[in-house]
Protein backbone atom coordinates (compact mmCIF):
# COMPACT_ATOMS: atom_id res chain seq x y z
CA UNK A 1 0.00 0.00 0.00
CA UNK A 2 1.30 3.40 -0.93
CA UNK A 3 -0.91 5.34 1.43
CA UNK A 4 -2.35 4.18 4.74
CA UNK A 5 -4.62 6.10 7.12
CA UNK A 6 -5.63 4.19 10.24
CA UNK A 7 -8.07 5.75 12.70
CA UNK A 8 -6.65 9.20 12.15
CA UNK A 9 -8.01 12.09 14.20
CA UNK A 10 -7.25 15.75 13.75
CA UNK A 11 -8.58 18.14 16.34
CA UNK A 12 -8.72 21.90 15.88
CA UNK A 13 -9.61 23.28 19.28
CA UNK A 14 -12.84 21.44 20.06
CA UNK A 15 -13.66 20.46 16.48
CA UNK A 16 -12.72 17.13 14.92
CA UNK A 17 -11.67 17.85 11.34
CA UNK A 18 -10.79 14.19 10.93
CA UNK A 19 -12.81 11.78 12.99
CA UNK A 20 -11.30 8.29 12.83
CA UNK A 21 -10.40 8.45 9.16
CA UNK A 22 -9.29 5.09 7.75
CA UNK A 23 -8.46 4.05 4.17
CA UNK A 24 -5.63 2.71 2.04
CA UNK A 25 -4.63 3.66 -1.48
CA UNK A 26 -2.69 1.48 -3.88
CA UNK A 27 0.23 2.62 -5.95
CA UNK A 28 -0.31 4.39 -9.29
CA UNK A 29 -4.03 4.88 -9.02
CA UNK A 30 -5.88 8.14 -9.59
CA UNK A 31 -8.30 8.66 -6.72
CA UNK A 32 -10.96 11.36 -6.58
CA UNK A 33 -11.29 12.76 -3.06
CA UNK A 34 -14.88 13.92 -2.80
CA UNK A 35 -16.69 15.64 0.01
CA UNK A 36 -18.75 18.67 0.85
CA UNK A 37 -17.26 21.90 2.11
CA UNK A 38 -15.74 21.28 5.52
CA UNK A 39 -15.76 17.49 5.19
CA UNK A 40 -12.02 17.35 5.87
CA UNK A 41 -10.55 17.07 2.35
CA UNK A 42 -7.85 19.68 2.77
CA UNK A 43 -6.94 18.54 6.28
CA UNK A 44 -6.49 15.01 5.00
CA UNK A 45 -4.21 16.17 2.18
CA UNK A 46 -2.20 18.46 4.44
CA UNK A 47 -1.54 15.60 6.85
CA UNK A 48 -0.56 13.34 3.98
CA UNK A 49 1.79 16.01 2.63
CA UNK A 50 3.37 16.35 6.05
CA UNK A 51 2.27 19.96 6.50
CA UNK A 52 0.13 19.05 9.50
CA UNK A 53 0.54 16.47 12.20
CA UNK A 54 -2.41 14.21 13.05
CA UNK A 55 -3.69 14.42 16.63
CA UNK A 56 -3.74 10.64 16.82
CA UNK A 57 -3.77 7.59 14.57
CA UNK A 58 -1.37 6.16 12.04
CA UNK A 59 -0.45 7.82 8.73
CA UNK A 60 1.95 6.13 6.35
CA UNK A 61 3.29 6.96 2.93
CA UNK A 62 5.47 4.20 1.50
CA UNK A 63 5.88 3.05 5.09
CA UNK A 64 7.10 6.44 6.32
CA UNK A 65 5.40 8.97 8.55
CA UNK A 66 5.07 12.10 6.43
CA UNK A 67 5.29 14.80 9.11
CA UNK A 68 8.63 16.63 8.93
CA UNK A 69 10.10 13.92 6.77
CA UNK A 70 12.63 14.97 4.11
CA UNK A 71 12.47 11.66 2.29
CA UNK A 72 8.74 12.10 1.84
CA UNK A 73 8.94 15.71 0.74
CA UNK A 74 11.19 15.05 -2.25
CA UNK A 75 8.89 12.30 -3.53
CA UNK A 76 5.64 14.11 -3.01
CA UNK A 77 4.14 17.26 -4.41
CA UNK A 78 1.13 19.01 -2.91
CA UNK A 79 -0.62 21.47 -5.17
CA UNK A 80 -3.08 23.82 -3.51
CA UNK A 81 -4.52 27.29 -3.73
CA UNK A 82 -2.34 28.97 -1.16
CA UNK A 83 0.95 27.62 -2.51
CA UNK A 84 3.56 30.32 -2.44
CA UNK A 85 6.95 30.71 -4.02
CA UNK A 86 9.76 33.10 -3.10
CA UNK A 87 8.58 36.47 -4.51
CA UNK A 88 11.92 37.60 -5.92
CA UNK A 89 12.02 34.91 -8.60
CA UNK A 90 10.45 34.85 -12.04
CA UNK A 91 8.51 31.76 -13.14
CA UNK A 92 11.41 30.72 -15.37
CA UNK A 93 13.72 30.85 -12.36
CA UNK A 94 11.29 28.76 -10.31
CA UNK A 95 11.53 26.12 -13.01
CA UNK A 96 15.29 26.42 -12.95
CA UNK A 97 15.36 25.70 -9.21
CA UNK A 98 12.87 22.84 -9.48
CA UNK A 99 15.45 21.03 -11.63
CA UNK A 100 17.76 20.83 -8.64
CA UNK A 101 15.15 19.72 -6.15
CA UNK A 102 13.06 17.19 -8.12
CA UNK A 103 15.08 14.39 -9.73
CA UNK A 104 12.40 13.69 -12.37
CA UNK A 105 11.74 17.34 -13.27
CA UNK A 106 10.43 17.75 -16.86
CA UNK A 107 11.70 21.17 -17.84
CA UNK A 108 10.67 21.01 -21.47
CA UNK A 109 7.14 19.96 -20.59
CA UNK A 110 6.77 22.68 -17.97
CA UNK A 111 7.85 25.42 -20.37
CA UNK A 112 5.70 24.15 -23.24
CA UNK A 113 2.59 23.89 -21.07
CA UNK A 114 3.15 27.36 -19.65
CA UNK A 115 3.52 28.80 -23.16
CA UNK A 116 0.38 26.93 -24.23
CA UNK A 117 -1.52 28.52 -21.34
CA UNK A 118 -0.29 31.91 -22.53
CA UNK A 119 1.55 32.72 -19.35
CA UNK A 120 4.87 34.45 -19.77
CA UNK A 121 7.69 32.91 -17.75
CA UNK A 122 8.97 36.41 -17.04
CA UNK A 123 6.05 36.90 -14.64
CA UNK A 124 6.33 36.64 -10.90
CA UNK A 125 4.01 34.17 -9.19
CA UNK A 126 2.36 36.77 -6.95
CA UNK A 127 1.43 38.89 -9.98
CA UNK A 128 -0.56 36.14 -11.68
CA UNK A 129 -4.35 36.14 -11.71
CA UNK A 130 -6.16 33.52 -9.66
CA UNK A 131 -6.74 31.26 -12.65
CA UNK A 132 -3.17 31.71 -13.89
CA UNK A 133 -1.82 30.83 -10.46
CA UNK A 134 -3.81 27.59 -10.43
CA UNK A 135 -2.63 26.81 -13.96
CA UNK A 136 1.00 27.46 -13.08
CA UNK A 137 0.76 25.42 -9.87
CA UNK A 138 -0.73 22.45 -11.70
CA UNK A 139 1.87 22.60 -14.47
CA UNK A 140 4.57 22.76 -11.82
CA UNK A 141 3.05 19.78 -10.01
CA UNK A 142 2.82 17.66 -13.15
CA UNK A 143 6.34 18.50 -14.26
CA UNK A 144 7.84 17.33 -10.97
CA UNK A 145 6.70 13.79 -11.81
CA UNK A 146 6.61 13.04 -8.10
CA UNK A 147 5.59 9.49 -7.25
CA UNK A 148 2.81 10.91 -5.09
CA UNK A 149 0.93 13.90 -6.47
CA UNK A 150 -1.74 15.58 -4.36
CA UNK A 151 -4.01 18.07 -6.10
CA UNK A 152 -6.34 20.05 -3.87
CA UNK A 153 -9.06 21.63 -6.05
CA UNK A 154 -6.44 22.23 -8.75
CA UNK A 155 -8.79 23.90 -11.23
CA UNK A 156 -9.97 26.68 -8.89
CA UNK A 157 -10.42 29.92 -10.78
CA UNK A 158 -9.51 28.50 -14.19
CA UNK A 159 -11.82 29.25 -17.09
CA UNK A 160 -13.74 26.47 -18.82
CA UNK A 161 -11.39 26.08 -21.79
CA UNK A 162 -8.15 25.78 -19.85
CA UNK A 163 -9.81 23.45 -17.35
CA UNK A 164 -10.52 20.73 -19.88
CA UNK A 165 -7.04 21.21 -21.36
CA UNK A 166 -5.48 20.77 -17.94
CA UNK A 167 -7.54 17.63 -17.21
CA UNK A 168 -6.25 16.26 -20.48
CA UNK A 169 -2.70 17.23 -19.47
CA UNK A 170 -3.07 15.31 -16.20
CA UNK A 171 -4.27 12.23 -18.08
CA UNK A 172 -1.49 12.38 -20.68
CA UNK A 173 1.20 12.89 -18.06
CA UNK A 174 -0.23 10.03 -16.01
CA UNK A 175 -0.12 7.73 -19.04
CA UNK A 176 3.46 8.80 -19.80
CA UNK A 177 4.55 8.35 -16.21
CA UNK A 178 2.06 6.56 -13.93
CA UNK A 179 2.02 7.84 -10.38
CA UNK A 180 -0.27 7.93 -7.38
CA UNK A 181 -2.58 10.90 -7.74
CA UNK A 182 -5.22 12.15 -5.33
CA UNK A 183 -7.36 14.92 -6.74
CA UNK A 184 -9.90 16.62 -4.53
CA UNK A 185 -13.00 18.27 -5.82
CA UNK A 186 -16.54 19.00 -4.87
CA UNK A 187 -17.41 18.50 -8.52
CA UNK A 188 -17.15 14.77 -9.04
CA UNK A 189 -18.71 15.04 -12.46
CA UNK A 190 -15.81 17.09 -13.73
CA UNK A 191 -13.15 14.54 -12.78
CA UNK A 192 -15.16 11.39 -13.40
CA UNK A 193 -13.45 10.42 -16.63
CA UNK A 194 -10.04 10.87 -15.10
CA UNK A 195 -10.27 8.85 -11.89
CA UNK A 196 -10.31 5.16 -11.12
CA UNK A 197 -11.54 5.24 -7.52
CA UNK A 198 -13.73 7.51 -5.45
CA UNK A 199 -12.94 8.26 -1.82
CA UNK A 200 -15.98 9.99 -0.36
CA UNK A 201 -15.57 11.65 3.01
CA UNK A 202 -18.10 13.23 5.29
CA UNK A 203 -17.68 14.77 8.76
CA UNK A 204 -14.02 13.67 8.82
CA UNK A 205 -14.73 10.03 7.99
CA UNK A 206 -14.33 7.92 4.88
CA UNK A 207 -17.86 6.76 4.09
CA UNK A 208 -17.29 5.24 0.66
CA UNK A 209 -14.16 4.03 -1.10
CA UNK A 210 -14.88 2.20 -4.34
CA UNK A 211 -14.18 2.10 -8.07
CA UNK A 212 -16.05 4.88 -9.86
CA UNK A 213 -17.96 2.37 -11.98
CA UNK A 214 -19.29 0.68 -8.83
CA UNK A 215 -20.36 4.02 -7.36
CA UNK A 216 -22.40 4.65 -10.49
CA UNK A 217 -24.26 1.37 -9.93
CA UNK A 218 -24.80 1.81 -6.20
CA UNK A 219 -28.16 3.59 -6.16
CA UNK A 220 -31.22 3.71 -8.40
CA UNK A 221 -34.15 6.05 -8.58
CA UNK A 222 -37.69 4.71 -8.75
CA UNK A 223 -40.38 6.93 -10.18
CA UNK A 224 -44.05 6.08 -10.29
CA UNK A 225 -47.33 5.76 -8.49
CA UNK A 226 -46.93 6.60 -4.83
CA UNK A 227 -49.00 3.73 -3.38
CA UNK A 228 -47.31 1.18 -5.64
CA UNK A 229 -43.85 2.33 -4.62
CA UNK A 230 -44.74 2.18 -0.93
CA UNK A 231 -45.88 -1.39 -1.46
CA UNK A 232 -42.39 -2.42 -2.50
CA UNK A 233 -40.08 -0.07 -0.62
CA UNK A 234 -39.70 0.28 3.15
CA UNK A 235 -39.05 3.78 4.34
CA UNK A 236 -35.80 2.87 6.13
CA UNK A 237 -34.27 1.93 2.76
CA UNK A 238 -34.83 5.35 1.26
CA UNK A 239 -31.93 7.75 0.72
CA UNK A 240 -33.94 10.48 -0.91
CA UNK A 241 -37.60 11.03 -1.61
CA UNK A 242 -39.66 13.55 -3.44
CA UNK A 243 -43.41 13.62 -3.85
CA UNK A 244 -45.40 15.44 -6.43
CA UNK A 245 -49.18 15.28 -6.89
CA UNK A 246 -48.76 12.79 -9.73
CA UNK A 247 -45.86 10.61 -8.69
CA UNK A 248 -43.34 9.65 -6.07
CA UNK A 249 -39.58 9.52 -6.50
CA UNK A 250 -37.38 7.47 -4.18
CA UNK A 251 -33.67 6.72 -4.27
CA UNK A 252 -32.66 3.30 -2.90
CA UNK A 253 -29.75 0.86 -3.12
CA UNK A 254 -29.65 -1.10 -6.37
CA UNK A 255 -29.23 -4.35 -4.46
CA UNK A 256 -32.51 -3.85 -2.58
CA UNK A 257 -34.52 -3.80 -5.82
CA UNK A 258 -32.42 -6.18 -7.90
CA UNK A 259 -34.70 -9.16 -7.24
CA UNK A 260 -37.93 -7.35 -8.06
CA UNK A 261 -36.86 -5.43 -11.12
CA UNK A 262 -39.33 -7.07 -13.48
CA UNK A 263 -42.25 -6.69 -11.09
CA UNK A 264 -41.53 -2.99 -10.69
CA UNK A 265 -41.41 -2.48 -14.43
CA UNK A 266 -44.67 -4.42 -14.80
CA UNK A 267 -46.24 -2.09 -12.24
CA UNK A 268 -45.24 0.85 -14.39
CA UNK A 269 -42.54 2.07 -12.04
CA UNK A 270 -39.51 3.33 -13.90
CA UNK A 271 -36.03 2.50 -12.65
CA UNK A 272 -33.51 5.20 -13.45
CA UNK A 273 -29.75 5.35 -13.02
CA UNK A 274 -28.27 7.65 -10.37
CA UNK A 275 -25.02 9.32 -11.42
CA UNK A 276 -21.89 9.02 -9.31
CA UNK A 277 -22.07 12.64 -8.24
CA UNK A 278 -25.70 12.25 -7.20
CA UNK A 279 -24.74 9.14 -5.21
CA UNK A 280 -22.18 11.23 -3.35
CA UNK A 281 -24.78 13.92 -2.76
CA UNK A 282 -27.33 11.49 -1.34
CA UNK A 283 -24.81 9.68 0.86
CA UNK A 284 -23.68 12.93 2.45
CA UNK A 285 -27.01 14.66 2.80
CA UNK A 286 -28.68 15.11 6.17
CA UNK A 287 -32.26 15.09 5.03
CA UNK A 288 -34.19 12.63 2.95
CA UNK A 289 -36.18 15.36 1.29
CA UNK A 290 -33.31 17.71 0.53
CA UNK A 291 -33.94 21.44 0.47
CA UNK A 292 -37.71 20.90 0.17
CA UNK A 293 -37.79 19.66 3.78
CA UNK A 294 -36.74 23.09 4.99
CA UNK A 295 -39.74 24.73 3.38
CA UNK A 296 -42.33 22.28 4.70
Amino acid sequence: MTIVFREVFKKYRSQNALNSMSFTIEEDKITGLIGRNGAGKSTLLKILAGHLRATSGDVQLYGEHPFNNLKVSSNLIFIEDTMSFPPIFKLSELFEMAKDFFPNWQDDLARKLLAYANISDKNHHHNLSKGQKSTFNLIYGLATRCKVTLLDEPMNGMDEAIRSDMYRAILKEYIAYPRTIIISSHHLQEIEHLIEDVLLINHGQAILHAPLEDVKQLLVKLVGNSAKINEYIRSNEIYFEKDSPVSREVVVESTSVASMKNELIQEGISIQPVSASEVCKYLTSQRKGGIDDVFK
Binding site: E196, L212, Q217
Partner: protein, 123 residues
Protein backbone atom coordinates in the same frame (compact mmCIF):
# COMPACT_ATOMS: atom_id res chain seq x y z
CA UNK B 1 -16.94 8.25 -31.21
CA UNK B 2 -18.02 9.81 -28.02
CA UNK B 3 -18.69 7.98 -24.79
CA UNK B 4 -21.82 8.74 -22.87
CA UNK B 5 -20.88 9.47 -19.27
CA UNK B 6 -24.53 9.90 -18.25
CA UNK B 7 -25.56 6.51 -19.53
CA UNK B 8 -26.27 3.69 -17.10
CA UNK B 9 -23.96 1.56 -19.22
CA UNK B 10 -20.55 1.65 -17.52
CA UNK B 11 -17.76 3.31 -19.51
CA UNK B 12 -15.74 0.09 -19.70
CA UNK B 13 -18.71 -1.71 -21.24
CA UNK B 14 -19.03 1.13 -23.75
CA UNK B 15 -15.35 0.65 -24.60
CA UNK B 16 -15.86 -3.09 -25.07
CA UNK B 17 -18.87 -2.42 -27.29
CA UNK B 18 -16.92 0.11 -29.33
CA UNK B 19 -14.18 -2.45 -30.00
CA UNK B 20 -16.86 -5.00 -30.89
CA UNK B 21 -18.32 -2.50 -33.35
CA UNK B 22 -14.87 -2.04 -34.90
CA UNK B 23 -14.68 -5.81 -35.34
CA UNK B 24 -18.20 -5.95 -36.81
CA UNK B 25 -17.22 -3.24 -39.30
CA UNK B 26 -14.05 -5.16 -40.24
CA UNK B 27 -11.83 -2.32 -39.09
CA UNK B 28 -10.29 -4.82 -36.69
CA UNK B 29 -9.79 -8.27 -38.22
CA UNK B 30 -8.87 -11.77 -37.00
CA UNK B 31 -5.37 -11.84 -35.54
CA UNK B 32 -5.16 -8.08 -35.95
CA UNK B 33 -3.70 -6.07 -33.10
CA UNK B 34 -6.15 -4.19 -30.89
CA UNK B 35 -5.55 -0.79 -29.30
CA UNK B 36 -3.72 -0.91 -25.97
CA UNK B 37 -5.40 0.36 -22.82
CA UNK B 38 -3.20 3.45 -23.00
CA UNK B 39 -4.16 4.18 -26.59
CA UNK B 40 -7.82 3.78 -25.68
CA UNK B 41 -7.36 6.04 -22.65
CA UNK B 42 -5.90 8.74 -24.89
CA UNK B 43 -8.50 8.31 -27.61
CA UNK B 44 -11.46 8.45 -25.28
CA UNK B 45 -9.97 10.69 -22.62
CA UNK B 46 -10.53 8.19 -19.81
CA UNK B 47 -8.54 6.55 -17.05
CA UNK B 48 -6.36 3.72 -18.44
CA UNK B 49 -7.69 1.31 -15.80
CA UNK B 50 -11.22 1.86 -17.12
CA UNK B 51 -10.03 1.17 -20.67
CA UNK B 52 -8.21 -1.92 -19.36
CA UNK B 53 -11.43 -3.25 -17.85
CA UNK B 54 -13.09 -3.01 -21.26
CA UNK B 55 -10.30 -5.10 -22.79
CA UNK B 56 -10.47 -7.63 -19.94
CA UNK B 57 -14.16 -8.25 -20.62
CA UNK B 58 -13.41 -9.01 -24.26
CA UNK B 59 -10.60 -11.30 -23.16
CA UNK B 60 -12.96 -13.18 -20.83
CA UNK B 61 -15.62 -13.43 -23.54
CA UNK B 62 -13.13 -14.94 -25.99
CA UNK B 63 -13.27 -12.02 -28.38
CA UNK B 64 -9.60 -11.13 -27.88
CA UNK B 65 -6.48 -13.02 -26.92
CA UNK B 66 -3.26 -11.91 -25.37
CA UNK B 67 0.27 -12.36 -26.67
CA UNK B 68 2.71 -11.78 -23.89
CA UNK B 69 4.56 -8.53 -24.28
CA UNK B 70 2.90 -7.81 -27.61
CA UNK B 71 -0.62 -6.83 -26.65
CA UNK B 72 -4.08 -8.08 -27.52
CA UNK B 73 -5.37 -9.47 -30.78
CA UNK B 74 -8.72 -10.39 -32.31
CA UNK B 75 -9.56 -14.07 -31.94
CA UNK B 76 -10.57 -16.06 -35.00
CA UNK B 77 -14.36 -16.22 -35.23
CA UNK B 78 -14.81 -13.21 -32.94
CA UNK B 79 -17.04 -11.41 -35.40
CA UNK B 80 -19.49 -14.32 -35.70
CA UNK B 81 -19.58 -14.64 -31.95
CA UNK B 82 -20.36 -10.95 -31.49
CA UNK B 83 -23.16 -11.15 -34.05
CA UNK B 84 -24.67 -14.13 -32.23
CA UNK B 85 -24.36 -12.57 -28.81
CA UNK B 86 -25.84 -9.23 -29.88
CA UNK B 87 -28.79 -11.01 -31.49
CA UNK B 88 -29.37 -13.13 -28.41
CA UNK B 89 -29.00 -10.38 -25.86
CA UNK B 90 -29.21 -6.85 -27.12
CA UNK B 91 -31.71 -7.35 -29.92
CA UNK B 92 -33.99 -9.46 -27.71
CA UNK B 93 -34.04 -6.77 -25.03
CA UNK B 94 -34.71 -4.05 -27.58
CA UNK B 95 -37.53 -6.12 -29.06
CA UNK B 96 -39.06 -6.61 -25.61
CA UNK B 97 -38.97 -2.87 -24.98
CA UNK B 98 -40.60 -2.17 -28.32
CA UNK B 99 -43.34 -4.73 -27.68
CA UNK B 100 -44.03 -3.31 -24.21
CA UNK B 101 -44.21 0.26 -25.42
CA UNK B 102 -46.45 -0.83 -28.30
CA UNK B 103 -48.83 -2.44 -25.80
CA UNK B 104 -48.97 0.76 -23.76
CA UNK B 105 -49.77 2.73 -26.89
CA UNK B 106 -52.36 0.24 -28.16
CA UNK B 107 -50.32 -0.47 -31.30
CA UNK B 108 -51.53 -3.63 -33.03
CA UNK B 109 -49.12 -6.34 -34.23
CA UNK B 110 -49.78 -5.38 -37.83
CA UNK B 111 -49.13 -1.72 -37.15
CA UNK B 112 -45.88 -2.59 -35.37
CA UNK B 113 -44.61 -4.72 -38.24
CA UNK B 114 -45.63 -2.01 -40.67
CA UNK B 115 -43.64 0.50 -38.60
CA UNK B 116 -40.53 -1.69 -38.64
CA UNK B 117 -40.80 -2.06 -42.42
CA UNK B 118 -41.08 1.69 -42.75
CA UNK B 119 -37.96 2.24 -40.63
CA UNK B 120 -36.06 -0.36 -42.66
CA UNK B 121 -36.87 1.59 -45.81
CA UNK B 122 -35.51 4.66 -44.10
CA UNK B 123 -38.84 6.43 -43.57
Amino acid sequence: MNLNAESSTPIYIQIAEWIENEILADRLISDGKVYSQYQLAEMFNINPATAGKGLTILLENNILYKKRGLGMFVLEGAKEQIVKKRRDEKLTILARDIVMESKRLFVSDEELIELIRKVQKGG
